[in-house]
Symmetry: C2
């Protein structure tokens, strides 16, 4: 295991201490628990949004807590869910009197714990909580309710966050979040594994000349193992599957996210982006905005994912709104 760390059991807490020391003006924690992270910027009357999930995916999940996006996040150890109590503490801290929306990825542990937290918030604290579960990864199943949440959750955060910031009520923010989920599809590929610090070795192997199409961000098995080939061929396969799934059609307009899983250089993400644009152009699908970079990672895993989010005027306004979190910043655009 070649990681820049100290004791594996301190991996998450030392990372969090580094984050609080760097971004203390904007981020703090509650209940004396570093893993219960909240914004320092309260907006009375605004719908609050919380997320959560395992560590090891920075800037997911906590990186999107900030102005124009999320209000709080509870995180677990690497690839582990936070507890219901942690989610409840975050919920209590961020509630501005207008209710709280949970947005998180479709993993059993998270669902169980978030549902319990929502129930406690309602029963014990009289805070109304609604939940939107993101499942944008088309790999592995045609049953949408069983799909994993991966990088596409960025667009859900972005739009719901902007809607909440603009003063929409909980029903509206929830509707926007669901609308983004309904219009967002992702597919990923992995070139190498990652190592959970406490485990100390890779949970699986990928041969030097192979890639895994459709692998999840915790190393979940993909659709198939393929030989490494020119990336344009890989992108064509991914785009064909993504486009057919919604489906996206000529005349549609989309936002694009080419996400790096960790070790893959930005150069390669833009080589992918180049071909994504060509394919969308040939299909007559317009491109509203393109994001490339690391938005949802698996530590040092090499690989990438492609996300399309079909947009209309409403979603374009929310995607183009300004956002200012310690890990994601954009000025507004149209």
């Amino acid at each position: 295991m070649k990681k820049l760390m100290n004791q594996p059991e301190n991996y998450v807490s030392e990372m969090l201490q580094g984050i609080y020391k760097s971004h203390g003006k904007d981020l703090t924690y509650v209940n004396e628990d570093l893993k219960c992270l909240v914004t320092t910027h309260k907006h009375p009357g605004k719908v609050a949004i919380a997320t959560g999930g395992g560590s090891g995916h920075l800037p997911l999940f906590l990186g999107y807590v900030g102005e124009g996006m999320l209000d709080g996040c509870s995180i677990g150890e690497v690839f582990q869910s936070p507890s219901p109590q942690q989610m409840l503490e975050v919920t209590k801290a961020i509630d501005n009197g207008a209710g709280v929306l949970y947005i998180y990825g479709n993993y059993n542990g998270d669902i169980f714990n978030f549902d319990m937290a929502a129930e406690m918030a309602d029963m014990e604290e009289d805070i109304r909580v609604e939940s939107v579960v993101a499942g944008d990864d088309i790999s592995g199943t045609t049953d949408i309710s069983k799909r994993r949440g991966v990088a596409g959750i960025f667009f859900v955060y972005k739009c719901a966050g902007a809607a909440a910031a603009s003063g929409k009520d909980l029903d509206e923010v929830e509707r926007i979040a669901r609308k983004v989920c309904d219009n967002t599809r992702t597919m990923g590929i992995a070139l190498s594994a990652c190592i959970v610090p406490r485990v100390g070795k890779a949970g699986f192997n990928i041969a030097d000349d192979e890639i895994e199409m459709g692998m999840g961000i915790h190393g979940e098995t993909g659709i198939r193992v393929e030989k490494l080939k020119p990336v344009d061929e890989i992108v064509a396969e991914m785009m064909e599957a993504i486009i057919a799934d919604l489906p996206y059609s000529g005349g549609d307009e989309v936002a694009v996210l080419v996400n790096g899983l960790g070790a893959t250089p930005l150069d390669e993400l833009y080589i992918i982006m180049n071909h994504v644009h060509d394919i969308l152009g040939k299909k007559g699908i317009g491109i509203f905005h393109s994001y490339a970079g690391e938005f949802a990672t698996s530590m040092e895993m090499a690989g990438a994912s492609i996300t399309l989010c079909k947009v209309d005027d409403e979603l374009k306004e929310y995607i183009g709104a300004a956002a200012d979190t310690p890990f994601f910043k954009q000025f507004s655009f149209e």
Copy 2:
């Protein structure tokens, strides 16, 4: 070689096409040469700033072209300098009538080519050009004039860019850039090599249980090879060398940059940041602002660097100014 690319000879041009397709509102190229990149936002009367260097370091170099930072950039193939003619074309395109400042890293090829471009700009185009060569890497030599430019150049871009945007003249912008160079020191470590696409294999190897202290961003030999150990010990060694070099002293205030070389996860950068803050705190050195992320990379190399930039009120104003490039965005702060 496990890269997401097509033909190695198209690596840079396809990357650039992806960048122009994504960021065409803000970036364009001149002289029909994708490698001569300039901002689309002209500001008559503003000092223009150009940089350049080899590819393979994104977001260096072109990633900092944008509002509040740089105006243009000429790039070469991976780890190769652009030509004097390319630099000249960029210079002509970005000149706003107030002269041009070149800011680039201390590498022989770049110096030779930038100097020739500056001479041509002066002789043929009557554009006054001044040059500031960044050499922030303390590894390998005590002779400051021989030091390599690495991630610390970010602070030079940031401050010179903000000074130019605020309307300072060429002499002033040059003075600010030199002041940042004088106050900035960096040291890096590598855990793994990277592969130049056209070469197809790593130029060197690092054993599974070893790290290279002081390695350059092209894989230049470092100070020494060490056994991998807890990162706090590695950070302590790096910080001792960096602090002693300027030296930075109790009562000073610094901006900190913990930079990932490519494959190292953000988690590990914040674990490093955590200890950097502790060490600075014990020394009585104040922290104005902390940046963690990928600012100057070597494609898929694993490793990190630490940069300190000693700041006063003038540099704090420039570091804290807003910037909006496709690859680096910040709202203003104090």
